[in-house]
Subunit: 307 residues, 2 copies
């Protein structure tokens, strides 16, 4: 067992907790992996170059974190080894917290009141009627669906867009490329929570931003690869967009000299919408036991779709 893991994950904690559930577990942390042919299961966000080629007895890859794109871009990803997506609901709800926070912070003028406090100014600002504010969620997987549910309960008008048809009570769900403009055209907030696939790469480009309602707000919790950052900056400067909240970028960490850092209409966070913790340990123990028992894993990713 080996793992190339996000830096905030604590491998010692995983080793300790997994050992409690699996007797005699041999848990190895990359680069200290021992003999490559011993490896049965890889836990990874993505793999060091060439690693997969050398794991002759690999039976399963378990993806840490939400997006599959970094794994699928690995030229050594073995064709026949199943990739498992953890079902831990905290992954989705972490991102939903982030989306709700940044929509509400604009809707309720958080930044303006912060500035007013510095000036000791008492000046109430009308809020828009929540039911007249349209939130469009791109990507209606676990994150999009959960966010739709929360926004709906808060009283917002919610639209969803996905590759295939979805049905969520009270949410106008559209699907397929032809409907994208309808979904983003009248939204006050457009939220990208898509998986990164060949179909969605660069989807937020000049045409996309021009199709948005003037004065709308864009939030990206998908991947940097979804957004053409030059087109985004043009849309911000032409006042087409009121602003953007960005958690992911084409290059991460965002380089010190990148113009987005200082853009007055842009809020930047360091890829923390999904700050995945240790919610998946039990699931991994279960998966490992299935493999030892000769069973095939559950919750396998569809490689042809890329997510």
């Amino acid at each position: 067992m080996v793992s190339r893991y996000p830096e905030y994950l604590d491998p010692a904690k995983w080793r300790r907790n997994l050992a409690l559930q699996i007797e005699g577990l041999d848990f190895r942390v990359w680069p200290d992996v021992g003999k490559n042919e011993d490896i049965l299961l890889v836990l990874a966000d993505f793999a060091p170059p060439g690693l997969f080629r050398s794991l002759r007895n690999l039976r399963c890859i378990c993806k840490l974190g939400a997006g599959m794109d970094a794994l699928f871009e690995d030229p050594d990803l073995p064709e026949i080894v199943p990739i498992v997506r953890l079902q831990d609901p905290t992954i989705a709800s972490q991102v939903v917290e982030y989306i709700v926070l940044y929509v509400l912070s604009r809707h309720r003028h958080l930044e303006i009141y912060r500035r007013q406090q510095l000036e000791r100014t008492w000046h109430p600002i009308p809020t828009r009627v929540t039911s007249e504010v349209i939130i469009s969620l791109l990507g209606m997987g676990r994150i999009g669906a959960k966010a739709a549910e929360i926004f709906q309960r808060l009283g917002f008008a919610v639209k969803g867009w996905s590759r295939t048809a979805k049905k969520i009570a009270g949410v106008e769900c559209l699907f397929g490329e032809g409907t994208l403009t309808d979904v983003i055209g009248d939204a006050d907030y457009v939220i990208c929570a898509l998986p990164l696939t060949p179909e969605t790469r660069g989807i937020c480009d000049r045409r996309f931003f021009e199709a948005m309602k003037p004065g709308a707000w864009f939030i990206n919790v998908g991947r940097g690869g979804h957004v053409n950052e030059v087109d985004l900056q043009t849309a911000l400067e032409s006042r087409q967009l009121a602003g953007a909240t960005l958690d992911v970028f084409s290059t991460e960490p965002l380089p010190k000299n990148h113009p987005l850092w200082a853009h007055p209409k842009v809020t930047i966070t360091p890829h923390v919408a999904n700050f995945w913790l240790d919610g998946g340990i039990d699931e991994v123990a279960q998966l490992y036991r299935r493999l030892l028992a000769g069973c095939s894993p559950q919750n396998v990713v569809d490689k042809s779709l890329g997510y």
Copy 2:
């Protein structure tokens, strides 16, 4: 009909919309009230001193906004005239938006990331596991109950406290004075959403803050009268509290020279948690028609409880 209204309410819009629903309506806006004995229904947040004494044919008072305290403090409030509380759900959901926003902004380090952006610093900060974060809501009326529902769906641990017993699935509801310490003792966020009554005035005092968990956060969307502001500042300075988000104050607008404005641990907003708009117009039209038909009004406030 006469009205002393919150400054953000647009009486012209109310006149226009009510006139569409009630033929021949005589809608007057204080101080231009015409003959006092003509007044049948008062719409008011509170009344100018002495006004109620002169309204001999008054049949009903309809309260604008959520808290009843300013009305009940009026020495001229007529004993027998019923006071109606509008049921418009947007009043509660407005306050819920505010509570959710300010809990999440701390939970997800909004302020820290804002500062990091100014310094072009890319530094992810772990979030706490949401299910281990306890939110205690004081006041389980429409606001508290709705907030409990949303926090629960986001995965927080939620407790509620109220005068009488309440039952909300998944929420630990306690009631009565004796249980207050239990509710606030282990909470990470304590939210005051109580009505202001003789029993709750000054409830957030030295003893209250000392009973809170060290490092917890206090949010007040109730009334300034709930909080002893000197005791609050002591609790902030002793590090008993990590911080506070305050929307209401003992004196409003908060005076320019008030020390809370510049307190580094305090977030101040100018009484906007409930930014009530025009959701109640239809309800008022209905109420007025009931009065004309000689029916008694619905949703009457219990004067003995004060809310």
